[in-house]
Amino acid sequence: MNTQFWVVQAFNGVSYGALLFLVGAGLSLIFGVMRIVNLSHGSYFLLGGYVALSVIWITGSWALSIPIAVIAIALVGLVMERLFLRPEGRAKNIRDALIALGIALIIRLSLGRLLPQMIPGQIGNIVQVTLVVAIIAVPIYLVLQRISAVAIEADTLRQVLMTVGFAFLFQQAALDLWSGNPFDISPPPALTQSVSLGGMSFPLYRLFMIVGALVIGILLWLAMEKTRMGAMVRATVDDAQMARGVGIDTNKISMFIFALGAGMAALGGVIGGAFLGVYPGLDFEMLPIAFAVVIIGGMGSLGGAAIGALLVGLADNFGKALFPELAYFTLYAPMVLILALKPTGLFGRD
């Protein structure tokens, strides 16, 4: 246990914390602004990695894969928020139509399995499947229109279960689209070198992660503290009802924050894909760690998420190195203690 051990572990811990900041900050803001406990946040992380992989396979460009993955997953988050978490007006009809199509597709595919002689071909040609699905979907849609859906804005348990349902849907979709094989995202060669400093060598990629997270963190902080939009977000976190009262469009704010959070998780997935890999199950591995970051820092606070990410990153690395058998215990036990002693987290406001 010389200094080299401590320095290397601390460096690894800080760089892992940088990654966790990307995942945790979004989750924290989403909770702060919308009071939504989003259990599909880990899926955004995983899907971000998968989309980046596809971009790299097609174009060969790592740099291009980052913005595309971020935008794609931000859109996924946006659609989820608009149609399912806070549907209003026309969005409810679109949601019902989507659900009807989904059910119809499952019925059509099951028919192909159970009664292959009735409908020719396993999947058949696309025109035929689309037609059958459309025909089945119409009555389902009409029925759904008559049943009023339950509003879940104020019910944490229902949000949890709904977002877990989406996490399962995303998991299966990822399995179908990208197979179950584990992949790695290899960064450009310029970033795979190492820098030596004081007789120790540090991988450049991890330095890049720290710098990247710092830059994003500072930009976000400036946006939150210095812009009009940021002030509106902060007002919504503190008291959404009052914010609405003074004319802030909290609806738009929540849409924006949800997309931002999903995009940041996707960014984490692309960047983390280089050393964590991209594989089925990563979503539910990241999810509780992201919650640990958010809880320790305090829900809804950007600075809290940064400190929480740093602490969790360090606890994870030192825990694994010093007490390998208790590694995850050393991560979640502090989370329990903080929740029991100061439920709003180290930096949360309530």
């Binding site: 399995r113 849907l169 509780p288 640990a292 995850y328 929740l339 029991a340």
Partner: protein
């Protein structure tokens, strides 16, 4: 009171039907029913918290896992619980589940709403972390395989049908015990806490203690389900205590109907049926499971058990509309 008796009669008829019909099925059906019933005990224990006390716990798998790991560990390393001493394993599993809940409850009970969800999630993750990494005890990722098989003591439990009868007995006993609990004055005060916590406090009830005891009872029955699960499954892995197991138990309770006890059992049967039967038919079974989650939340606020009530309300509103039409029609002429 007669509707209550009718409901009890329906439940008893259903239980008897299960007892008669399941052993007539093939081995797949018997094993599926056994596993679903073992898990249903966990779902019903969670219903005591969720449905009757208003506490949504995201860590119920912890007690389940502790019961299962303890059973597997004692059986493998000490040969304990494989002969007549299996009957000792039941109270031991319940005691350990209850003791863990007593410890966890000290941290969790004061929290409410989202914070209760979060702290139970963290507590569950602590147990998962130990199961996953503490290789020398839990076998890490590989878990513990019960090498000695199921207990044998005159009754041969390695026979799947015999084991089904045993699981059924514990399932029915749990249902009965929890039913007695919720009908007791204690159960009524839990309901009061669920509805109006502040009012109960003003009336002089020790709300914290009520919640704490409910938490321990739920933990004890969670431990019981773990003991049976270990033998039903034959292997105990970190999957047993993973976050999604807790979430599954929550969904089962909500799907069947929280606050109905039997709802958890119905939910368990449906989810296990989907997972184990549909997955043998199609590779994309998880779409069905995810779909069930989303549809339950959107369209079944009171679960499957709440459907008759919803239909009745809908009919009443239709009737009202008709009568208002009739009364307003002549005046318009």
């Amino acid at each position: 009171m007669s509707t209550q008796n009718l409901k009890i009669a329906i439940v008893i008829v259903c239980l008897l039907a299960l007892l008669v019909l399941v052993p007539m099925g093939n081995s797949f059906v018997v094993l599926l029913a056994t596993r679903a019933m073992a898990f249903a005990i966990l779902a019903m224990s969670l219903d005591i918290l969720l449905g009757f006390t208003g506490l949504a716990s995201l860590g119920q798998a912890a007690y389940f896992g502790v019961g299962a790991y303890l059973t597997a560990y004692l059986a493998n390393y000490y040969g304990f619980g494989l002969k007549w001493d299996f009957w000792l394993m039941i109270p031991i599993g319940m005691a350990v589940g209850g003791a863990l809940a007593a410890l966890f409850g000290l941290f969790a009970i004061r929290a409410t709403g989202t914070y209760f969800l979060m702290i139970t999630l963290a507590l569950g993750q602590c147990v998962w972390g130990l199961a996953y990494r503490w290789n020398s005890v839990t076998g890490g990722d590989n878990g513990i395989t019960l090498k000695g098989g199921r207990p044998q003591f005159g009754i041969d439990l390695t026979n799947d049908i015999n084991f089904f009868y045993l699981t059924f007995a514990f399932f029915a006993a749990t249902l009965f015990a929890l039913y007695v609990l919720i009908r007791s004055p204690f159960g009524k005060s839990l309901l009061g806490i669920r509805e109006r916590e502040l009012r109960m406090r003003i009336l002089g009830y020790n709300v914290w203690l009520h919640k704490y005891i409910a938490f321990i009872i739920a933990g004890a029955f969670g431990g019981l389900s773990g003991v049976i699960w270990a033998h039903a499954n034959g292997i105990v892995t970190p999957e047993t205590v993973v976050l999604t197991t807790s979430v599954d138990a929550l969904l089962m309770t909500v799907l069947g109907g929280a606050g109905t006890l039997v709802g958890g059992a119905i939910g368990s049967a449906i989810v296990f049926g989907l997972r184990e039967y549909v997955s043998t038919l199609v590779p994309w079974w998880q779409y069905v499971l995810g779909g069930v989650y989303v549809l339950t939340i959107l369209y079944l606020p009171s679960g499957l058990m709440g459907i008759p009530e919803r239909v009745r309300q809908w009919r009443n509103s239709q009737k009202k509309r008709e009568t208002t039409k009739m009364t307003t029609a002549p005046s318009s002429h």
